[in-house]
């Protein structure tokens, strides 16, 4: 699911930048032709409305899997504020522990949850941009069409920011890539699932 998502995100961001260029939100920001997908506006749009199906269907499958199997609950919770500060301070001093590939530190947990939230919000705002009249009840929660565009844009910026860190670090620790490709072994992270006793 990760690599399908990677392809979908690549298509969505590249074609989204092409669409953005036709009516920029920030006067100084215009994505160079070399890094957008689609030479003409219609190609950017075609790719975006093709990629959306991959992104959304794969995203639903991923989130359902993560929730149904309890993977998110085990891997991403709980997050303690103290642990978060400690991890940040370790990271800034390049003293992060990497003892266990299957254990996420507090910053990783926050980032993964944050990027998932951005992914969900970018789909919701995307629906509102695609169908502001058919989904007018949903769209009205944001205010105006232009506000929805800005939120959609900010979600993209958040995801791109995440990707810069995510990809840089994965390239720095290439072993994690190998584990991703081969699936890695089953993990006993010391937190057995306990069924409610009633």
């Amino acid at each position: 699911m990760h690599w399908i998502n990677a392809i979908a995100i690549f298509i969505m961001i590249g074609s989204g930048w092409k669409i953005y260029n036709d009516d920029v939100i920030l006067g100084w920001l215009h994505f160079p032709d070399g890094i957008v997908i689609g030479k003409w506006a219609q190609y950017g749009l075609q790719w975006h409305f093709f990629g959306m199906w991959i992104f959304v269907l794969n995203g639903i499958a991923y989130l359902s899997y993560g929730i149904a199997t309890g993977r998110f609950r085990r891997k991403l919770f709980p997050i303690s504020f103290r642990e978060l500060l400690a991890t940040i301070s370790d990271a800034l001093r390049f003293r992060l522990a990497h003892d266990d590939l299957t254990h996420y530190n507090a910053v990783q947990k926050m980032l993964y949850l944050g990027v998932m939230a951005a992914g969900i919000l970018i789909v919701i705002t995307g629906l509102c941009l695609w169908k502001p009249v058919q989904f007018s009840e949903l769209a009205s929660l944001f205010g105006s069409f232009q506000i929805i565009r800005v939120v959609h844009f900010l979600c993209m910026a958040a995801i791109v920011g995440f990707l810069v860190v995510h990809i840089s670090l994965a390239l720095l620790v290439p072993q994690s890539l190998a584990a991703m490709v081969t699936g890695g072994p089953i993990v006993d992270d010391g937190a057995p699932e306990i069924k409610p006793t009633h």
Partner: protein, 263 residues
Amino acid sequence: MSIPTRTPSIFRPNGGIDQSPLSRHRRLVEDINRRNVLRGAISLGALSLLTGCDVSEDDSVQKMLRAVSAWNDRVQSAIFRPTHLAPTYSAAQVVKPPRFNAYYDIEDIKPVDGATWKLELSGLIDNKQPWTAQQIYALPEQEEIIKHICVEGWDYIGQWSGPNLRDFLQRVGADLTAKYVYFICNDDYTESIDMATALHPQTILATKYAGSPLADPFGFPMRLRTSTKLGYKNAKWVKAIEVSNDFRETFWSKQGFNWFAGI
């Protein structure tokens, strides 16, 4: 109470977590420093520059993308709510004059002479008698203060009035069970909409903007204005209307823009 064991993913081999990569590469992991971070970031930037090639125009790729676009037409048609009204606004929010847009510049428009203009009717319509501008302007009017949303991303609030399209189609005895309504324009522009959109309560043949007859750049003497389509579907300077069951590509859809273009 038993503690259930987690069902292993079929993608994961059994056995404990293999921590050997960490011990094998402990030196490297410990070696992460600012220089490496910078080097990684720079090569990532270089990698992103390699994406410039464009395969969109390749025949098979374009075929696939257009097939998805046709699928999206069907999805949009399925989620279209025939009587759901688009948000409307107050007269104080109206932008005057409206924003001009066409595939050419405003200086290149060819104004239509209202005195000689006639609206031709064809296809699945009982009474194909052409209409003069005077006759059209004498029909009951409906006013809509609605948003115009362009595929490029900009929008503005406009105040349009003119005869309701559904009423007009009924008046001329059009087959309301047909699939498409085509608009042929005084320039070489063509557009078509699905019948459900043609019959939507907020779809009108606009003849006025903010209470005055349309100015030349905005479609005088008559244009389509619907609250449920992107800007480019709203054909200006309409000179003929055709009702048909046959699908033909229109000005923008020929070039790869989505045909349904609903909002």
